[in-house]
């Protein structure tokens, strides 16, 4: 049995970690939105489902290249229109917000098209583009009143937000070193699906971990990087070492071919002069030598998902961070603010991804 957290510790949860939830109920019903989804794969289905549950019938249109998907879905789903052509959808629907949930290789081209067509609010799934150069270009052509959020949903998971709060407040003292991994069992057989992308697990899955690490710490350089292919022609396993501006070393390990992981898990272990933080999407475990007010004057705290998500968020589809991410985006539109994971803030993440691939290439090719 788990130890339930002390009630006074719960006072900082969830409002301090998740202001989105506190603000949301006040005006959710007032939103009159026209949302379109481009790409009706699993992420398109997920985001449109969450959005419709948050604001009934907010999603007005779906665009997908597949005739099978659009024709079949249009026979079943009557509350929205289906298109195979983005430009036609833009003309007929005039959406306020467009979600881009297509395969990664098309993100840059679709988002560029949307920006050129004066779509004001764009959500693009992670990774925002194939590389830093494409992100940089999108930022450069974006008009000042246009907003792009990137689907780095781990920053909306309350465990990771809590870990960042504790690190920033010195609860474990000065950071000494960091171990991290992201693992899944998604690719356990041969596939050529990533051949054209020419980038594998680091871009597709590892980008979440890189994004969290760049959010937690300032990454200065890549010390070493190595990749290995197992089932694909791209990186199925990626191992590297990074260094922060404070000369802290971070080990990073990404794999999508680990059969032990039914669903992806992101793990960060931070060692400081006063203690240790271990954090995943599922839990936060803190040990420290001094009592700290953020730990309710305790030295050891263990919190799991049920402690964080007590009756929240208001929609429970897949992991809670997806709903919080969508609420955050809608609120940033409502309040005319930059979202936490704006494309501008994601540029740093993509810069590190490029550096890691370059170093792995150098290692492989001497």
């Amino acid at each position: 049995m788990l130890r339930a957290p002390d009630s006074s510790l719960l006072k900082i949860l969830p409002h301090d970690l998740c202001p989105e939830i506190a603000n949301w109920n006040g005006y959710a019903e007032l939103l009159d939105l026209r949302i379109a989804i481009v790409g009706f794969g699993k992420m398109g289905l997920l985001h449109s489902g969450i959005l419709n549950l948050l604001v009934p019938r907010a999603v007005k249109a779906i665009v997908d290249k597949s005739l099978l998907l659009t024709f079949g879905a249009s026979r079943i789903i009557k509350t929205m229109k289906f298109y195979r052509d983005i430009d036609r959808m833009l003309r007929e629907i005039e959406p306020d917000i467009v979600y881009v949930t297509t395969p990664t290789s098309s993100h840059y081209f679709v988002v560029r098209n949307l920006l050129n067509n004066d779509v004001r609010y764009v959500f693009v799934e992670k990774p925002p583009t194939l590389n830093y150069e494409q992100v940089h270009h999108l930022v450069s052509i974006k008009k000042t009143d246009q907003r792009i959020i990137v689907g780095f949903q781990k920053r909306y998971a309350l465990t990771f937000r809590h870990a960042k709060l504790l690190i920033d407040n010195g609860v474990i003292g000065e950071i000494l070193h960091v171990n991290s991994h992201i693992r899944s069992g998604d690719i356990l057989g041969p596939t050529n699906r990533f051949d054209t992308l020419r980038r594998g697990v680091l871009l597709d899955l590892g980008v979440h971990l890189v994004d969290l690490l760049t959010w937690f710490f300032k990454i200065k350089r890549v010390i070493k990087a190595r990749s290995k292919n197992v089932y694909t022609r791209v990186d199925d396993v990626f191992r590297s070492e990074l260094e922060t501006e404070g000369n802290v070393k971070i080990s990073l390990d990404a794999s999508w071919s680990n059969p032990e992981y039914r669903i992806p898990e992101t793990y960060i272990e931070v060692h400081g002069t006063l203690g240790t933080i271990k954090v995943t999407e599922d839990y936060l475990k803190v040990n420290t030598k001094i009592e700290h007010s953020l730990l309710d004057n305790k030295r050891e705290v263990v919190l799991y998902k049920p402690h964080y998500y007590q009756g929240i968020p208001s929609v429970n589809l897949a992991d809670p961070e997806y709903t919080i991410e969508n609420i955050h985006f809608l609120e940033s539109i409502h309040g005319n603010k930059q979202p936490l994971t704006s494309i501008e803030s994601s540029a740093e993440t993509m810069k590190v991804i490029d550096l890691l691939y370059e170093e792995a290439w150098r290692t492989k090719n001497g």
Partner: protein, 295 residues
């Protein structure tokens, strides 16, 4: 009134809503099929009368093993959750969503050619979707005693999408097929019970079973703990749905005693209570405690 205690299959297939770390530990504990049988038997000693499970291939293997080695299958009631969604998510990761749709359609064509042609000729894609559900559950119906299969429940991944898109006709089509073609009661599993309640009321579709999380923390209870509780009460009292409470221990964050205290408040609205564990001793202890407090 609570009529049944059910054992859930989460640890048997490596699922934990607490953490993946726990899921891996539990899966290792029951890696041998006989270990799962030990858990089931211990739970029955404590008062469990039913087993609820997803259409995961490990469960099919377990049922085959039980059928060959134990006199157990006809002593339990079964509540089947369909489909096992994570399996399809994984397939989509490898072959893409369009590829997955093609694979699913090919399976339907192979196994139910006539029904598929009928659905395709009339452009009835709801019919095709319903055939998918029937296909998924069929191998289990072949092995389990027919009279013991109490309900087939749609998994939350489908239910919550049905609710989000207001797919009332699809819901009716699947319900019709489950009830008439398979001859089994129909149910829905959801983590968004208040949203589901609104859809059920507005559509007039009667759902015999509703499976949803109920725990003192409100974990996985949407749109909020209080609103979800109200929806559960009304589903049971006004719409006469049989409510099956799941995740009553908030994935292990509350004690069984705390769970019992909480659930006692809703006794008149709950038809069955589910819990899961990978340990035979805990399977019996928890069943005894739940039986004493709730049955």
């Amino acid at each position: 009134m609570v009529k049944e205690l059910l054992l859930g299959d989460n640890p048997f297939i490596g699922v934990s809503h607490l953490s993946q770390e726990k899921a891996r530990e539990e899966r290792n504990e029951v890696s041998l099929v006989q270990k799962k049988v030990d858990v089931i038997k211990a739970s029955m000693e404590g008062g469990v009368t039913g087993f609820t499970f997803s259409t995961h291939e490990l469960n099919l293997k377990m049922f085959k093993y039980i059928s060959d080695n134990h006199d157990l299958l006809d002593k339990l009631n079964y509540y089947i959750l369909v489909p096992y969604a994570q399996g399809y998510v994984r397939k989509a990761n490898v072959i893409g969503t369009a590829g997955l749709a093609t694979t699913v359609l090919n399976n339907i064509v192979r196994k139910r050619f006539k029904d598929f042609v009928a659905g395709a000729l009339t452009m009835n894609f709801k019919r095709v979707a319903s055939l998918f559900i029937v296909n998924e559950v069929e191998p289990y119906l072949k092995i389990l005693p027919k009279t013991r299969v109490k309900a087939i429940l749609l998994h939350e991944v489908l239910v919550d999408i049905i609710v989000a898109y207001e797919l009332i006709d699809l819901l009716k089509e699947i319900k019709k097929d489950v009830e008439s073609k398979l001859g089994v009661s129909f149910g829905l599993e959801t983590r968004n019970v208040s949203h589901l309640f609104k859809l059920v009321v507005s559509s007039g579709v009667r759902v015999e079973y509703v499976m949803t999380p109920m725990n003192p923390l409100g974990y996985q209870m949407a749109s909020s703990k209080e609103v979800a509780e109200k929806a559960i009460e009304e589903l049971a009292s006004k719409l006469e749905s049989k409510v099956i409470a799941i995740n009553v221990l908030a994935s292990g964050a509350v004690t069984p005693i705390e769970a019992c205290e909480y659930l006692r408040r809703f006794k008149e609205y709950i038809y069955a209570v589910t819990y899961s564990t990978s340990k035979p001793s805990r399977a019996k202890e928890n069943a005894l405690l739940l039986a004493k407090n709730l049955l």
